[in-house]
């Protein structure tokens, strides 16, 4: 069965119309009798959407309008994010303009790290992984993920599947970084959003770049397969996508793109050479450690692990 991923260029800043078009192209049908909707943006840190790090609240606001158009104004909508190792959701909502957006749109902001969390397990690549998940996500009638396309040193690209990793209730998600690819696949086995709408207004390559793009799809895997091509990586070489195929999450042969041409966006994304960057970082800290051993000099705490 085909898994459609749509790419729509935002015209005249009309986000609502572009979202509707993206959903149509992705063949998304809103489920019937929906009472609770959860929208999960990507607020990994306090950097404004213009930096390419976080989901633009204007995109979330447009999705809220779209959902209300479908289900009426009484549908309960929550915009949810979890605390991260260095990020506190209460500040991220404030700093990134979500508090104001929630007031304007009369929706609730929700911290996925608060309240009783459910223990879930998943087995990936012979690793047994445990996750704490907020029941809100498990019980939502409609779960919409709104990730950002970004390059990331550890897993090459982060977008739809990694945004689900951000749903884990445990704040210190850095504990999963040793087996991050497995953890990304594992949590995607547990949490499957009904819809993914990628905020590609600004993407984060080696530096931020304006794309004015929205993408939509019902499978996080399929969205990431296309995003990977856009960010300059062969998706079959991205470890967590490879693992997903091995774990039968999705078949890449089913992925079908519709709308704009991926290659057009791929051309303008500033690519990162992670092998050299990663190696230079590694080398830099190794040298610093060796230098300290020889001289006994001070390493400022900010550079220490």
């Amino acid at each position: 069965m085909n898994s459609f991923v749509s790419l729509v260029r935002v015209q005249n800043s009309d986000l609502g119309q572009s979202i509707s078009k993206a959903l149509d192209l992705a063949s998304f049908k809103f489920p019937s009798s929906v009472k609770s909707v959860v929208i999960k943006p990507n607020l990994c840190y306090y950097w404004d959407a213009a930096t390419g790090y976080t989901t633009d609240p204007r995109v979330v606001a447009a999705i809220i309008d779209c959902v209300r158009e479908e289900y009426g104004k009484d549908v309960a909508i929550k915009v949810a994010e979890a605390d991260a190792s260095a990020m506190r959701t209460k500040y991220a909502f404030k700093v990134l303009g979500y508090e104001k957006m929630a007031q304007d749109k009369k929706v609730e902001l929700f911290n996925l790290s608060e309240g009783e969390l459910e223990e879930k397990t998943a087995r990936v690549n012979n690793h047994q992984l445990q996750f704490k998940v907020n029941p809100l996500l498990l019980n939502a009638d409609l779960f919409i993920s709104v990730p950002k396309p970004k390059l990331m040193k550890i897993v090459k690209i982060t977008c739809a599947m990694k945004n689900i990793f951000g749903c884990i209730g445990t704040p210190r998600k850095v504990i999963y970084h040793k087996h991050l690819n497995e953890a990304v696949v594992g949590i995607n086995k547990i949490l499957r959003p009904h819809l993914t709408i990628v905020d590609g207004l600004t993407a984060l390559g080696r530096f931020p770049v304006k794309l004015n793009l929205l993408m939509a799809g019902t499978s996080t895997f399929s969205v990431d397969w296309v995003v990977s091509q856009m960010m300059g990586y062969n998706p079959s070489k991205v470890q967590f996508l490879k693992l997903s195929v091995a774990e039968n999450i999705e078949n890449p042969r089913n992925v079908v793109t519709r709308g704009e041409n991926v290659a057009e966006f791929a051309r303008i994304i500033p690519k990162e050479k992670f092998i050299s960057t990663g190696f230079l970082w590694y080398l830099q800290f190794k040298m610093l450690g060796a230098y300290q051993k020889i001289t006994g000099d001070i390493i400022p705490p900010v550079f220490q692990e």
Partner: protein, 350 residues
């Protein structure tokens, strides 16, 4: 030998502790922090007497001659008061205190006890700034007319190698005393006063709230000295840059020429680090004393300001940044807050 107690072992306190351990004629006899992890690290570094509560360090340890305090702003007055009353010399991380009223109390206590107190205005110890001041004093740019000082960084939003969430007190005006104007403004206003060497007042101020927080995260302040040198201060917490990227600029405009901090700083910090690191390795191999933190360029000032503090205790000389100096900076910051807030009030009335 100066016996020192280090109070507060956060990022800055830990750096001060490590610096103290590398200064000749200084012995770290105790340290305090509520975090068990921080205390464990201090023990690993060789500090054996550790306290969770700094008040215990000040009341129970009779060995200590001086303390280095790096606590949140709302604890500055209380900790300094207890230290001075215990007869100890004090190094206090900037700002001296969170408002002028608290600063006045500290100045009174310093005068009463006769102990040394210095404020950690580290930029005065940066090599480039010292050279800039020397060049200015040599008369090569004529008479100073305008100084522009800018520092835009990520402040409390910095993301260290070992990620940790920002402490809540930063955004509570009652506890912090203010936002970026107090945090970075106290460096740049101190530097303006350092270059100008005269009494100053605030001409204009604008406070920005890009992040919708209860404290300002951007500020532009215009100052004027009694000899009519004008200063433009631009500070912000809104930039996502990490070291060695550093959006920090100083320009001195004279009537005969100008100076830029960029002319006095290393062009490439990586090359500089390799060069300085190699020099230290050679010093070590030839059994000479290394220059701690010189390879980082910016962090060397933290070591030097402590050396200066301990020298002023040993030599009974004036501290580099006295309590009165620290208070004068806070007076200007308070003026800037008054101006900025009254402008906001006016705007809301219109």
């Amino acid at each position: 030998m100066v016996n020192v107690g280090v109070i507060g072992l956060g990022r800055m306190g830990m750096l001060h502790l490590m610096s103290c351990l590398n200064i000749d004629g200084v012995k770290v006899v105790a340290a305090s922090d509520p975090s068990t992890k921080a205390l464990k690290k201090a023990r690993k570094l060789g500090v054996n007497v550790l306290y969770e509560d700094y008040r215990d360090l000040l009341s129970k340890n009779s060995e200590v001659d001086a303390v280095v305090i790096s606590l949140p702003n709302f604890l500055h007055l209380e900790s300094v008061r207890l230290a001075l009353e215990a007869g100890l010399h004090v190094f206090i991380e900037k700002p001296l205190a969170k408002n002028v009223e608290e600063c006045r109390e500290i100045v009174r206590l310093v005068e009463k006890t006769g102990k040394k107190l210095t404020v950690g205005n580290v930029l005065r110890f940066e090599e480039g700034i010292i050279k800039m001041k020397e060049t200015l004093n040599s008369g090569s740019i004529g008479s100073l007319e305008v100084v522009t000082l800018e520092e835009i960084i990520n402040g409390p939003f910095s993301h260290p190698r070992n990620p940790a969430p920002v402490a809540d007190w930063w955004f509570d005006p009652e506890k912090s005393g203010g936002g970026v104007l107090l945090d970075l403004g106290c460096h740049l206003i101190d530097l303006f006063r350092f270059f100008v060497g005269e009494e100053c007042e605030v001409d204009f101020s604008s406070l920005e709230y890009f992040f919708n927080l209860p404290v300002e995260d951007g500020a532009i302040v215009m100052l004027r000295s009694s000899n009519s040198v004008r200063g433009i201060i631009n500070v912000g917490w809104y930039q996502k840059t990490v070291y060695p990227q550093f959006d920090f600029n100083i320009m001195l405009h004279g009537n005969s020429g100008y100076l830029s901090i960029n002319d006095f700083r290393p062009k490439n910090l990586y090359t500089y680090a390799v060069k300085e690191g190699t020099k230290n390795i050679l010093r070590k191999l030839t059994k000479r004393k290394i220059r701690p933190l010189s390879y980082t360029y910016h962090y060397e000032g933290f070591y030097k300001e402590l050396v200066s503090f301990f020298d002023c205790i040993r030599n009974d000389s004036a501290p580099a940044v006295s309590a009165i100096e620290g208070m004068k900076t806070i007076e200007l910051i308070e003026q800037a807050y008054e101006y900025g807030n009254s402008k906001k009030r006016l705007a809301s009335l219109v």
